[in-house]
Symmetry: C2
Subunit: 430 residues, 2 copies
């Protein structure tokens, strides 16, 4: 048996403690699959005295995480601190510069600094691995980078944020509004005290930035992603979605088009027969459309100590076995400089909901606006009548473009009979 692989773990929160626990629990199995023992030699965290339920005896302790990069007892640095800047970034960069391989679960870091890190890793012949950064325990990075490497990828889409999917699933199952479910999710620990990273789509966009780079062999480009969150999804829209045969999901979608790579995060209407429609609760799922493989779907738990530790240690076993791969699947110099498609060139169908005053001529005014922007309708729904209150009118369009839709929405919002800002939700094909 060759010599043990030694690791230093920075960050001993839920995931860090989960990694130490899994290394202990499945030690003999991990040793056999890694071909040699994997040993934690050093750790770093803020509070040395806290009980994390894992045994830290005999491990070197560093108050400064960056010191792990210089610790001669550490072969591989595992960064589980989080955040795109600060000590997480400093540790990763220092380790790579020292030629030490790095494993991380830090999607924000890669979304913002992935290209720099890829160049650093290549220059110093260090590995930079991040299976845990997207979709938790689902081995999606490995699937895209290795398992489906022979394919030209046409599109990747998925549900990448368990908090949002949990909220949307419960809103539908219990017919509750967004604020009620969010508050309950926070009370139960399914949502953060400050939930904006999740519910505003930023976390999904970080993950999509990583998958887009891998899928299309291009540099990471977080800034090019169009991002909308789920704050404005209403119980009423979810009810209409049900009636029309859709589920509303927060999706991350990247697609190759003639006008460049389209990458967007927003709530979407997903037809019931699409694989993503059936993914409920905190699960994540990814659909890859490749040529010649066709559609491949992967589903599993997207977060939590166990699934994330599973991904971190899969990376570790690869390193122990010397299974090497460039960070983005190809050498940095081989990445393609593809254009990003601006969002206003997006083409697709839309669900529109308008709250209108129930009076003669309203529908004529609305459909005239749509006609002026050459938006054609597939169907229209109107329930209930009321002389005093606003009533919902739902319109489903044929495929049109975002630019025309935005112009039409501006005009619709100004109609005197339209009493609230219109809601538009993009419809994704199955």
């Amino acid at each position: 048996m060759t010599k043990p692989l030694t690791i230093g773990v920075a960050g001993l929160g839920t995931v860090g403690a989960g990694v130490l626990r899994l290394l202990a629990d499945n030690a003999s199995l991990i040793t056999a699959r890694a071909g040699r023992p994997v040993q934690v030699s050093a750790v770093s965290a803020r509070d040395r005295t806290r009980d994390r339920g894992v045994d830290l005896a005999g491990l070197r302790w560093h108050d400064d995480p960056v010191a792990l990069a210089a610790d001669p007892s550490v072969d591989v640095v595992i960064e589980l601190i989080g955040g795109a800047e600060g000590s997480a970034r400093a540790l990763v960069e220092t380790a790579l510069r020292a030629g030490k391989s790095v494993i991380t679960a830090n999607k924000a870091l890669i979304a913002h600094h992935g290209n720099h890190l890829a160049t650093l890793a290549e220059a110093h012949q260090a590995a930079f691995r991040f299976e845990a950064s997207v979709a938790g325990g689902i081995p999606i990075i490995k699937a895209l980078r290795e398992g489906l490497a022979a394919n030209r990828i046409a599109a990747v889409s998925g549900i990448f944020n368990g908090t949002c999917n949990y909220i949307l699933s419960r809103m539908r199952a219990e017919q509750l509004d967004f604020a009620t479910v969010l508050a309950d999710a926070q009370a139960q620990g399914y949502a953060e005290a400050d939930p904006s990273f999740d519910i505003d789509g930023v976390d999904t966009a970080h993950k999509l930035a990583i998958l887009t780079a891998l899928a299309f062999g291009r540099p990471v480009d977080f800034a090019s992603i169009h991002v909308e969150g789920i704050r404005r999804v209403s119980a009423l829209d979810i009810a209409f979605a049900d009636e029309l045969g859709y589920r509303i999901k927060l999706l991350g979608i990247a697609r190759a088009t003639d006008a460049g790579i389209e990458a967007r995060v927003h709530p979407a209407m997903v037809p019931l027969n699409a694989p993503l429609a059936q993914v409920d609760g905190v699960d994540n799922a990814v659909v890859i459309h490749g040529d010649p493989v066709g559609d491949v779907v992967l589903q599993g738990r997207g977060a939590g100590a166990g699934p994330t530790a599973s991904a971190v240690i899969a990376d570790l076993i690869d390193l122990a076995r010397h299974r090497a791969t460039p960070m983005l699947g190809v050498a940095h110099a081989d990445l393609a400089m593809m254009a990003s498609m601006p969002m206003d060139q997006h083409r697709g169908a839309y669900f529109l909901r308008l709250m209108v005053q129930d009076q003669p001529g309203v529908i004529a005014d609305i459909t005239a606006v749509l006609r002026d922007h050459t938006i054609s309708l597939e169907s229209m729904l109107q329930h209930g009548r009321s002389a005093s209150k606003a009533v919902p009118v739902v319109l489903v369009t044929h495929v049109t473009n975002e630019h025309a839709m935005r112009a039409a929405l501006d005009r619709l919002a100004k109609l005197s009979a339209v009493l609230e800002p219109p809601t538009a939700i993009r419809i994704e094909p199955a």
Copy 2:
């Protein structure tokens, strides 16, 4: 750029031609991901003159596939002849003995000779890769062997045969009987002229043998798998399954139990909320239950030139990148000698259908037999009455064991009011 990786392809049927076509179509992308050019240098097939729609100009031709193993222009042998014996086996063994790496899609070969081939590969430091042997384009071998390598696997189950899934899906959708759909599937090319390998469950069992070895880190043991096919699945049972909230699927299931590893292939009742219930047509899908990752589901096309070529070339890119792994995930000496659980120790719930003469006392006789074998009932269904014809009685049991169920079925078959051999279909939990 390092020197090209050269390959020899044996077998130029649908899959072999698909591999050559994909290497040509996606050449620049494959070169970038492989880190060097991948070049076909030699081929072997039966008929030199047949037009396969791919350019063979400049390639060395060998009438004898085994000659590829000795061809100095060949770094890696790709075996796409098929079959557990004959020239496929001779080629693979000769190549491995010569220290040449081998890629194959041949599940029968691995199911029957996997342990010998693993030992050969290890002794001669050659790689032996077989991503294409299970579930076509779905990277399930890589997921189990690498992506989920940190997990203790509790169970692997799935739909591994597109022909059977297509037949069962159509029987349900169009309410047709088995023979009608099989004949039509044969006419359309979805089923072989001699369909027994598929419909008798043998193909599924070959694939399950491979996954069981990988999942549990034990030698390949095809003989220990209990195998039943779909010939006896009737339109009536499919209709009852619908009524009870199940789909009937041909599953391969491997599970760690206290009594050893249970591995079985048979038609099963799958609850509608289980991921496998929604997999229709020629798709394949796999559910892996791992600790700590939880359930991971992978779905995609399980056969065809494109998906299979995708898997073969993924293996090739791994070899080009020197990403090495023992054939079964761990060194052969580290495989665990786990017992196999005999099928009569299986525990589970059952769907029973009896065709009975509609007369007083029949139900009492049936339930008395079940009571004698301590089999308790969850529900009973009886539709229609007829003084002249047999009427179906459907019973759903609580969890019991196979031994008791077989004994009960023997006695039920002998009751004078039971007019046809009883049907029993195992129910799988979601």
